[in-house]
Amino acid sequence: MKKLINSPDSVIADALRGMAAAHPSLAVDLENRVVSRAGGATQGKVGLVSGGGSGHEPLHGGYVGYGMLDAAAPGEVYTSPVPDQILAATKAADGGAGVLHIVKNYTGDVLNFRMAAELADDDDIRVVSVVTNDDAAVEDSTYTAGRRGVGGTVFVEKIAGAAAEEGADLDTVAGIATHVNEVTRSFAIALHAGTVPAAGKPGFDLADDEVELGVGIHGEPGRERGSMAPVHDLVGYSLDVIHADRPLSGDLLVMLNGQGGTPLIELYGAFAEAAAWIEGHGARVARSLVGNYITSLDQQGFSISVLALDDDLLRLWDAPVATPALRWGR
């Protein structure tokens, strides 16, 4: 393993120092490991907090700023943050109108955020949690941990963030976040596993003719191993799974996301296939993102997230946003 790091132990601390130096628009609390807006919480606005394991950059710290998150709590690589840390983020985001926790559905994230919400309650901060679980690769069932929260989390953060900026109250913002999660589906394929610094080797090994179908964002194996194929087929397979789970029609927001180690030129090639598939099925790409938005360190592969737009969602998506990783309109 060769990594651009000082030591596996210092990766998060070093990255946070870097974020602090790079983005004057952010306040980075190195002690508590909280990234928040430099100006502090916006009084009277619902605060948005997200967090989870590190290694998914720009998620979540890169989405802190006007129109999106108020604070983020990055844990160790692929490990959810701890309750005290999430509490600190919640306090940094609290402008008196309550705080929304956006939590990806993993046992660790859910439990630590739940504990943090209880601590916040002790401090009289009203917290509502929305758990994202947009991964169509995982079979859903009440007997299991359910589906994972993956790429759709970016949509939730952007759209709920816009609603909060417009002045919606906590329950309304939470309702919108829940709705966004419900109308979003994602699917991912990996070509080569990423390497966790502390582990020192890739999370799984694949032969040159193999891919992992239906992976999450933590370098874990997928729901099955498949054969390497042209990008046309890999994208088609992904959209077939999504479409079977929630038929695609009308105007769509489509994210063709890289897992961190795939070059942008290939992501554009994959997006071309996605757009063609979608047009071919009578739906329409109304808005899109192509690039690295929710990654798995240096993993090679892609994910597709698709959201069914309506007028409200479109307006909130188009609303101004100014974060390190997503910015338009100001």
Binding site: G53, G75, E76, V77, Y78, T79, S80, P81, V82, P83, D84, Y106, T107, G108, L111, N112, R114, M115, D135, A137, V138, E139, Y143, T144, A145, R148, V196, A198, A199, G203, F204, G216, H218, G219, E220, P221, R223, E224
Partner: protein
Amino acid sequence: MAFDTATATAWITAAEAAVKADEARLTGLDAAIGDGDHGANMARGLSAALTNIAEKAPTTPGDVLVSAGRGIVAKTGGASGPLYGSAFRRAGKALGDAASVEAPELGAALEAALTAIKELGGANEGDKTMIDALAPAVAAFQAIAADGGPIAMAAAAAADAAEQGLAATIPLQARKGRASYLGPRSVGHEDPGAASTTLILRALAEVTA
């Protein structure tokens, strides 16, 4: 031998050493069906437990376990942080402020830990989690304690039962935690949390032997 402040502290110390010695194995198990951080998580968590015990200087075995649990919750993260943290805290609370307890009380504390994990995580026996090691271990411990057996014997039986429970996770398909996302592909591997539970109970057997 009774379970007092020194023994409780020795338990956490031994558990930390055992987890650190086997960190790579735990991580390997988690890499196969999870995200490859269980070794690091447990090492960080039990270090934090020791640090918190050193800071708080608890004077009862119950307080030792509460301090350990708080340290674990505060520093571990992941699924194992809240689960093990609550388990130790609730076990400590069950011991009350006794200066020293015998097998039946320690058995009840272990049961409280199991209940905490079940409540928080919503999992049950057979879901391929740490519960599959802890539940049979608690039963074995309590059976011997009920017969008037000493802590040493009960703890040894608990560790053995945990080990069998760990082995029994291999053919299971995970229904909780990260491994559940793998569906049928989670079959054929030991559950990492069951493996760390086994290490922790073996440490208890060793310090009480």
